[in-house]
Symmetry: D2
Subunit: 337 residues, 4 copies
């Protein structure tokens, strides 16, 4: 029985704790740490049967019984805690992004070089049943050679302006998942990126120097073209679709809904909106992500999303940012590393 | 160039005239007759390039240039005019039903016995692109041996109560098309029928001794089971669907719409309602029906829907009526003929 | 913390144990009993953290710590164990059907008369997200007054012939769920039923005196008409749909799939088949069913599916059987009770 | 009765002749001219009831009875014949594009300045029922302020390499329709364009200096972003979709099929492929286009697609070409005019 410590008891930390408790037989959550521990969190931890609750995450790293840690704290702490955990010999699951800064990610990768720990990055969408079905169809050659990838990724509502300030910008905060999907679905690296951005949802986002609407096009090393469209606010909910078009056909994945019910009346034929947001849409994916992380440890396999997979989308995001600033296509190789 | 005369200048007579003029190169409408000719009809005929307009349909039958007639007058005149036309050596396209009375249909069939004229009955749905695709899949063995057929057939609104009185009842007026579809899609005869009816749409329909809602189940000679559900009023429009289930799978056809547009907003994801009613839904089918009638004449082939196909649905309808009256399953063989 | 004992460690008993362990915080499974205990079951129970494993279910009934039992043993034992459990003051969740014999169900209802225990019957489909969405739309008046209900319910493959012999026949074994759905979706009782059955899937089923294909029509007390179509074998998987049509429109629920992926190629546009069978399709429903059973106990509320709801579908099933035997519509009131 | 002369008796000239004959009561095709007249064309013209067939289009322009001409000859002749026809006082319907050269289009616009003739350009997709439904939803404010437009436009197969040489390149030949759609659906002008192109379908296309796959992104004057993806070859047929996303929701249009039939079997649930190519998909649009051209003349209204609408997509296409050549975003204002 693998023993897990969770660093960061916010929403995503709790999601992972529940996934492990419910769905992963080979692991249990032994401890959780958060600098802002309150009674609600303590009660939740008690209900979950988590034995130890700390303010200081170092207690978890010092615990010799702990096999693996999940780093679910704020983004700026991801890379230093990652390095401490690696040095402490703990397997690491680190939420995305590892960092907004390439050099700090580089330090994590360096720390891993002579280590035997598993290090997985939290790109949960790779574990989504819909996108995985697309990936499998592409990998099985069902659409032939891929030519065009289209990803639509829109949130139901923008984050608070306070969050925008520390988010690293839409490309590193939100689109980073889509950049990961591009690499995952096409099994190829981005060579060059061109981004168009706009502030159409909320002026205050623009006042923070960020954008809320974008179209990003990419040339891939395998010759395919890719395009992502993003919005911070879709009135009908979380819109998460992908289609891959190739020499033999196309495979596409659409949104999930809470039911298949369809109402026909004088106004038309109406189905449900997409599932509200990531916790609803990716609930199954979060569980599967934990299962595969634990499996990588117990069966000593490669993790499905490694540190390099954590780095690459950051490079694409930085290139996209530069593309917006300079209004020109930017090669990934231009992003110094 | 085949010369056509149309008897009855009402809605369906005009539909056929337009189909021939627009889509059938091998034929032209030479004359039209209607007891209630008004200026509007005369103007319409002039616009269509129809040379002759009569009050008396006998003028058409006497015209030696006329090769074929379309009988689109009121139902009670179908069988006598059919016999006159057959005796005059004209090919006949007769709107459904030939008659509500089995003996009168029998007389038409007898008149055809020693005649060489083609006689087609107006079951337009056999020419619908959707139902034909279902038929072709079944005939090609794509679903294996048919086990269950389900037809949903609902009108957008009931006819006037005045019409109900002379309609012959819902089964002979409306369901008769569905009975024809059962025979067409399964390529087998109905052996026994059980019908449940209700008056749920409009009490006045019940006061005329008719029903407006029904479920009719049938045992087929080939062992399959079939079920039709009918309503005189669907709030969302004309609902025309069919599914055939068999040993290897199922094939189904759904409603058509004016466009594929889909609106996603805070209320859900909304598509268009079905096409409003039979003129919209079966526009293509009416044209195809005329094409195949003319083709049967010019190429001396069997008509796609013969007199016997006009008789059989009437027998099923009468059995269904008896089933309602006596609340028991009724064999088609019980309907004296 | 409610303590649960499970009687019967077969597939469905294990499903419920896992649902409670994973999804129901207020309850735990303390013990399980099965006459045919093997090592596999013991290991499974150990993994689930079930403390006690017995051959004899009476041990569970005698355990004063046990608050509620789940009766998941073979159908013939449901009613006697129900009565024992009620008399022992345990809350009961009993798998469907309570019995094939009306008098034995009556005995259970009698035992409940002076008891304060909760008694829930395992009609899991009432907890399905799709059918619940339909139910809620109907209850909210979105389709107006219900006129027609259509249920399609087809299994992916027939049970073993050995099972057919003890199943009580298709109507009591399989259609019984659909009869429950009719009552649930229309919130009205069946007055009269007419059934047509056939042996089209497997001759051996017919040799056991059973059928494998059926269409059942019903008149409801509220005036609506209902129809169920059943097959023991759909080549494309478990087909579970329902539509309710009414004065203001229609609401329908379709099948679930493992993903929304859609492949377009030279052969057409292909989506996935429905989820394979009941364990896949109703996984969520089984969990919700347990949640609501526990909630009925802890909050002292009415159970969502009571003993009378266990009786009614058996009466409809027996009427349907009689309808087949006598080839006539049968009133539910004819089934002596 | 308006009298029409058609210049160019190729496929599209014949399509328009048939549309007018079948669907436009207020006009008739009096004459047709083609430099390559053969017996097949003469026979077709005779069947259509076209009185006069010429080699020399000037005969049509000299005919005082002719009210309007349709220019359906090869692209290089569009602008000179346009000017001749305008000077002869004929209303003009000119197939797209007016020319590949901006100055030659300018000459046409100049010729129109002091003329009273109607001049319509053949962007048929504006008359498509699906795209029109999208346009109407956007114009009616159903999606609020438009933010993102996505157009997918893929042909079922590339043209002959011989045609590629004279086509003006994919952007002026194929994407030009999509550029028109962008302007039509968003009711705004393109400000800047960035295009990525690739040769993935057929090397010979690349050898002619053209591309066969592209993603083109645009900034609109109203602030919205737009993206088109193109391929010369979709294995599943002609893929013609559009979605407009805005502050209140999204409206999308999908492909048409020959029927709604859906086959469920052990391989999945399969619908039909999209209609094969433009003649099938836009059959209705071609007829509607003619109706509105004739209506603009008879009711003296503005044409739905004027000369300026013929110019603008050429400017966007030239900017897109330049963008590919220089791998940078190009403003429309950079294209000298």
């Amino acid at each position: 029985m693998l023993k897990i410590g969770i660093i960061g008891a916010g929403r995503i930390g709790q999601v992972h704790a529940e996934s492990i408790t419910k769905y992963v037989k080979e692991a249990e959550v032994k401890s959780i740490a958060d600098v802002y521990l309150n009674d609600q969190v303590k009660e939740w931890a008690a209900n979950m049967g988590i034995a130890e609750v700390y303010n200081d995450y170092k207690k978890i790293l010092e615990d010799k019984e702990i096999d693996a840690v999940l780093i679910c704290s704020s983004t700026d702490t991801h890379s230093p805690i990652s390095i401490e955990a690696i040095n402490a010999g703990k397997h690491v699951f680190c939420e995305k992004p590892i960092d907004h800064d390439v050099d700090r990610i580089k330090n994590v990768i360096k720390a891993l070089e002579n280590s035997k720990v598993k290090y997985q990055v939290g790109f949960n969408r790779r574990f989504d049943h819909n996108f995985r079905a697309v990936k499998e169809a592409v990998a099985a050659g069902k659409i032939g050679q891929p030519h065009i990838l289209k990803i639509t990724s829109r949130d139901p509502m923008p984050p608070a302006v306070e969050y925008i300030k520390v988010s690293g910008g839409m490309f590193l905060d939100m689109t980073i998942h889509d950049f990961d999907m591009v690499r995952y679905l096409l099994d190829s690296e981005v060579e060059e990126v061109y981004a168009q951005g706009a502030v159409l949802v909320d002026k205050r986002i623009g006042e923070e120097g960020d954008i809320d609407t974008a179209i990003i096009t990419m040339k891939m090393e395998n010759g395919a073209l890719a395009v992502i469209d993003n919005s911070r606010q879709a009135a009908y909910g979380y819109d998460q679709r992908a289609e891959v078009f190739g020499s033999k056909g196309q495979v596409a994945a659409y949104n999930d809904t809470t039911s298949t019910a369809e109402l026909s009346n004088a106004d038309g034929v109406t189905k449900e909106k997409p599932l509200f947001f990531f916790l609803e849409r990716y609930m199954q994916a979060y569980a599967q992500e934990m299962r595969e992380f634990i499996e990588a440890i117990t069966e000593d396999k490669d993790v499905p999303v490694g540190a390099i997979d954590g780095l690459k989308p950051v490079l694409i995001g930085l290139a996209a940012k530069k593309s917006i600033e300079e209004n020109r296509p930017v090669k990934i190789s231009e992003i110094s590393f």
